[in-house]
Amino acid sequence: MKRSRILFVLSGGLFFLATLLMSQTKKPAARSAAPPAAVMERGKQVYLEQCLACHQVDGGGVPNMNPPLIKTKWVLGPKMPLVQVVLNGMKGDTEIEGETYHNVMAPHRDLTDQQISDVLTYVRNSFGNKASAISAAEVKVIRAKTKPVE
């Protein structure tokens, strides 16, 4: 009895792991809503150059230092605040999902609308995340509404 329960939990865990792993690999347009592979590839390149050092290879961040990008409200939620974090950065000590993170995130206004669109679409569809794409046009509108900090 106990064994069957363990097996059940185990297989559930492995299924979860498997989906996590699969979602981390490049995702062709298998799912209907998945972004085009080209967008994901471009987004990944921006991620490697601009984000990886702090948010890590798996998007998991660093406890107490840099927030995770895995299924948080910031990543999966409304587009405007997310784009604004990229544009203006984020102060340390911001509370995210009940935890605080001490490192400052620098503003990234130097990225083009297309680069921001690509990288956020990539993040919203990697590391187990699934959320709608953000277009370059949407980034442009949000950028126009967002004053630079300081």
């Binding site: 363990i6 097996l7 059940f8 939990v9 185990l10 297989s11 559930g12 865990g13 492995l14 299924f15 979860f16 792991l17 498997a18 792993l21 490697l48 150059e49 601009q50 990886l52 050092a53 702090c54 890590q56 290879v57 798996d58 998991g60 961040g61 660093v62 406890p63 230092m65 840099n66 995770p68 895995i70 299924k71 950065g89 102060k91 340390g92 000590d93 999902e97 605080t100 001490h102 490192n103 400052v104 995130m105 620098a106 503003p107 130097d110 300081e150």
Partner: protein
């Protein structure tokens, strides 16, 4: 071994982990077995569930063994041991209104059997000196009077001896060390990586003079017994230090030694000069011996442990080749980059073999800023000393805090060494701020 007892408790979960591990090899096949609802267990916070019960066995040199003195305390930062073996641990965040945990091993089996707490604030610093227990928050330093048995007499009314220290949420922790002349030394970390106009922003250059250095990025000296001291009453003892968490008064040299957390993101900020691999290896984490007026050169320079040179920081025109910092002192020892030295302890006990006497133990919390290269650290290092200087190559003393090579990263690590203290019998205590484990390491011929 005492750890085995601990292991026994968790044996069922361990065997589950083992089965899971075996199945990972044939993951896809196993996954086919069904969807299940594992989600229930993993969605809340993966970080909390991931570092589950693990093998507690540390890897130690021959003759040394460790007991798990206490476990699951919370974010255990620095710790101090009294002359009769009471262990006081500072928590980074108070739990249930208790930010300092008192541990006693009344039957002497190497495991605490009595636990209590007080001090409703988080912090890092913890020290015992001349009948007082010293503790820091991220802005203040308090002291508690100890009675003849080293019990705290005023747990709810400590004396506030230092107040108003800068805390901007980055490099915020305050550590303390005391000398034998009635002084206490406090680190005040710089709220910045390299004093750029805009912290960590690509293209933002360094400020000269760096305005942070008047109230942070250094070590301040205060009187150990006077209330309400602050910047005005303290002595700006040493400057040009980005951030320090581990520091100790060396009684053999009668000087203060510190471990600096070196800068990071050379590649992210200056990709034309450094690639990701170079950025993972530079700059050094440095040990400095301080004197009043010492300047270690941050933010204008960093130390390159491969070239053995002080280099001009790129935010100030450096290119990886230009040296600088003629006015800044050299480190006494340089370690690989980003390993985050969080505690320093000069060993004065008689229990360990002779080579350890007056040498330095360093707890390396472990890196995060070497990605995508493998992370490093997550161990306790020993540096032999002779005549007040390192006398040989440093070596890893206690390893496997992360719980296997696959966990040598900040999120996977089961434990991250953070504090060091020496017991009255010469045992070495190590704290961990991930699961709140305290080890007692002893030596037997």
């Amino acid at each position: 071994m005492q750890q085995l007892i601990q292991q026994q408790k968790i044996v069922s979960r361990k065997s589950m982990l083992l089965i899971a591990g075996l199945c990972v090899a044939g993951l896809m096949a196993c996954a086919g077995n069904g969807g299940g609802d594992k989600k229930k267990d993993t969605t809340t916070t993966t970080r909390r569930t991931a570092p589950a019960e693990v093998d507690m066995t540390l890897k130690l040199p021959a003759g040394f063994s460790a007991t798990v003195f206490a476990d699951s305390l919370g974010r255990a930062r620095h710790l101090a041991v009294t002359s009769n073996g009471i262990v006081y641990v500072k928590l980074n965040r108070a739990r249930g209104g208790k930010g300092i945990i008192k541990l006693e091993d009344t039957n002497g089996d190497g495991k605490a059997d009595k636990m209590s707490g007080f001090g409703n604030y988080g912090g890092t610093g913890m020290a015992v000196k001349n009948g007082y227990l010293y503790a820091s928050s991220d802005q203040e330093v308090f002291r508690y009077k100890l009675d003849g048995n080293n019990n705290v007499t005023n747990p709810d009314q400590p004396e506030k001896i230092i107040t108003g220290l800068l805390n901007r949420g980055e490099h915020e922790s305050k550590s303390v060390a005391l000398d034998n002349a009635g002084n206490i030394y406090v680190n005040i970390g710089a709220y910045s990586n390299s004093c750029q106009l805009q912290d960590r922003a690509k293209g933002s250059m360094g400020q000269k003079p760096c305005p942070i250095l008047d109230s942070a990025g250094g070590i301040w000296q205060f009187k150990a017994d006077q209330p309400n001291q602050t910047y005005g009453t303290g002595v700006h003892y040493a400057s040009g230090i980005r951030n320090t968490v581990g520091l100790d008064w060396n009684t053999a040299t009668n000087t203060l030694f510190i471990m600096q957390h070196g800068r990071d993101q050379l590649h992210d900020l200056f990709p034309d000069i450094w690639d990701a691999k170079q950025s993972a290896e530079l700059p050094a984490e440095c040990m400095y011996e301080l004197h009043k007026g010492s300047n270690c050169g941050w933010p204008y320079i960093y130390y390159d442990q491969i070239q053995h040179k002080k280099m001009l920081a790129p935010e100030y025109g450096g290119d990886g080749k230009k040296t600088a910092g003629e006015d800044a002192q050299d480190p006494v020892e340089a370690f690989p980059a980003h390993m985050a030295p969080n505690a320093l302890l000069f060993y004065t006990g008689n229990q360990f073999p002779e080579k350890y006497k007056n040498g330095a133990f360093i707890a390396f919390h472990g890196s995060w800023n070497r990605a995508p290269e493998p992370q490093e650290g997550y161990y306790v290092v020993f540096v032999p000393f002779k005549n007040g200087k390192p006398s040989g190559k440093w070596e890893v003393f206690a390893d496997n805090f992360a719980g296997g090579p696959e966990n040598v990263n900040p999120r996977g690590a089961k434990h991250r060494p953070t504090g060091l203290a020496q017991g009255p019998d010469g045992s070495l205590y190590v704290s961990d701020d991930t699961r709140g484990t305290i080890w007692k390491i002893s030596y037997k011929k």
